[in-house]
Symmetry: C2
Subunit: 333 residues, 2 copies
């Protein structure tokens, strides 16, 4: 553990506390907090922290005017302790509701901020990484060449000319689509709300139904948000529309697929999948997906990049600067 302080002597300025260290975020935050010079005092703790040690969070946040919330839950006892001074909480993620009691913060006049779309590029790139590994088995050949020796190749698939179907055309879906067009792939998209013009502008064709998308695509990549409208939307009937040799990529949420439907389809062995998300995470060691040769599995890792970390740090600091200046940026409530 270490503590880094900037401008701490300027007691005329508000105090911002980052009460816990997250290894991948330390570098980006060290860089970004320089922008707070002349506007705020900053006290930043580094090194791994027990996220359940409420007392530690309370102690470290003493006297703070703003607190940066990185992965710990703001429990009632923490709230009680810091509510006297804290006027802003900046959350280093999107879904703040799971970490902060929003109604209580509202009651107490605490501004809540989050960060948005910071992982769009990373997740889109991970969808492509899964596509590449399914098509080329580069990583698998590498492991074999390192661990087993030999010179065993693979009949790879050329991505250029294949049709990829993007389900959901928000930040991540449209970023994935744009990159796929750059690879020379034919790209089609479907989402609940039409994006036909935006899609056409980047050379992407909108199809009218999810069924058509599954019929036409060689590779389907899922980029929907999870909500009551989308939960289980990918059902067995849709998955049955995949043809032999087709592939299904999920970097979004496992619950978008009807329970058991994907495993049943994959066990037929004629289609492949690249999966970063699972019904239970971490994926149990005895999960049947782990023994299927036709799936590429990664441990919910898509968001975990240097670029996403920089985006979190940048937006958190932007939201703090806006708060200091009385402006609006990423304000949740």
């Amino acid at each position: 553990m270490a503590v880094i302080e900037r401008n701490i002597e300027r007691t005329d300025l508000p105090l911002i506390v980052i009460p816990n260290g997250v290894p991948t975020l330390e570098g980006p935050f060290l860089h970004e907090i320089e922008r707070l010079d002349g506007m705020a005092r900053v006290r930043m703790f580094t090194g791994e922290t027990d996220l359940n040690d409420h007392g530690l969070f309370i102690k470290r946040s003493q006297g703070a005017d703003a607190v940066v919330v990185l992965g710990f839950h703001v429990t009632d006892d923490i709230f009680d302790a810091i509510s006297g001074t804290v006027k802003c909480m900046a959350f280093g993620g999107t879904g703040i509701a799971n970490y902060v009691n929003i109604p209580r913060a509202n009651e107490m006049g605490i501004r809540l901020c989050n960060v948005r779309h910071y992982g769009d590029q990373s997740v889109a790139e991970h969808a492509l990484a899964l596509m590449f590994e399914l098509a080329k088995r580069t990583g698998r050949m590498d492991v074999r060449m390192h661990d087993e020796g030999g010179w065993e190749g693979f009949d790879a698939i050329q991505l250029c000319g294949k049709t990829v179907g993007i389900v959901g055309f928000g930040g991540i879906g449209s970023t994935t689509a744009r990159m796929c067009t750059g690879l020379g792939m034919d790209v089609i998209e479907w989402s609940h709300r039409s994006h036909a013009d935006e899609a056409a502008a980047m050379g992407v064709r909108e199809v009218p139904t999810l069924e058509r998308l599954f019929d036409e695509a060689d590779i389907v990549s899922l980029h929907l948000a999870l909500n009551p409208q989308t939960e289980g939307i990918i059902d067995s009937a849709l998955l049955d529309r995949l043809s032999p040799g087709n592939a299904f990529i999920n970097t979004a949420r496992s619950q978008l697929v009807a329970p058991g439907a994907l495993l049943r389809r994959l066990e037929q062995g004629d289609v492949a999948a690249g999966l970063d998300v699972f019904d239970t995470e971490p994926l149990p060691d005895d999960d049947p997906l782990r023994s299927l040769p036709n799936v590429v599995l990664t441990p919910h890792n898509a968001w975990r990049t240097d670029g996403a970390s920089r985006g979190i740090a940048r937006q958190v600091v932007d939201s703090l600067i806006a708060w200091i200046k009385g402006e609006d940026y990423n304000v949740v409530s």
Copy 2:
């Protein structure tokens, strides 16, 4: 072994023989030879063949007006046996000189054709596949999740925003460059002959020297042809310009790098490499590259895709159609 014949009763038409089967090419050739209907008789042999069985090639090529050469050497005895009837040899690769005695074919008035740039897209995609595996370790995480269980992630690198330096701006280099711009990477290129306008048109910046390219790039990808001017062009002085965290990709030829220079640089451990080509192929099991954690290795597999196979079959048949019509296509001499 099987033999497939088309229009074989039409003895008024020239006879084209494909005397050996190559598993990945059979499907594409079966599809493409349909285009010869009404123009030629075709006799196509399938199944693996001993490439040293001259007698078999002689026997199968009996009476052929044209022969398709897929990976076997047209030795003197084969030449002697078929030279009475054969007027065209269509080679299913680019470097025909290693397989066919060109002066002798010229003397005998035999047209020689090859296929060109059929692997550009595949090799460019493989360069990206190596880049993705170095940046994301998707394949390595997958193998671990399949073989060892667990849920161990990786601090991945976002490719968007990184600078890639393309060395050599021919078919493969420019294809790789175009795809990298599609990923949102900054792309610079250098080659012996300036391509500044062509590069600028696709948003790529030409740099004046190879040194500058190594200084500015986060990832260097090699796409030069091997010739006396380029052999050993990537020397230790250039490789020393790579900064910690940088990566070097070689899908071209190992001999473009000065002997031993890459291994020495990689053994310092601060830069990474993705390599599909090696000084000795197959790569010996005790090669020190196999024990370096900072390299991704594939067994000269970049060209091996469905798309490249289709390109070979398509161009071979195009060259045969041109020969029949007295037109020029992919004629070497």
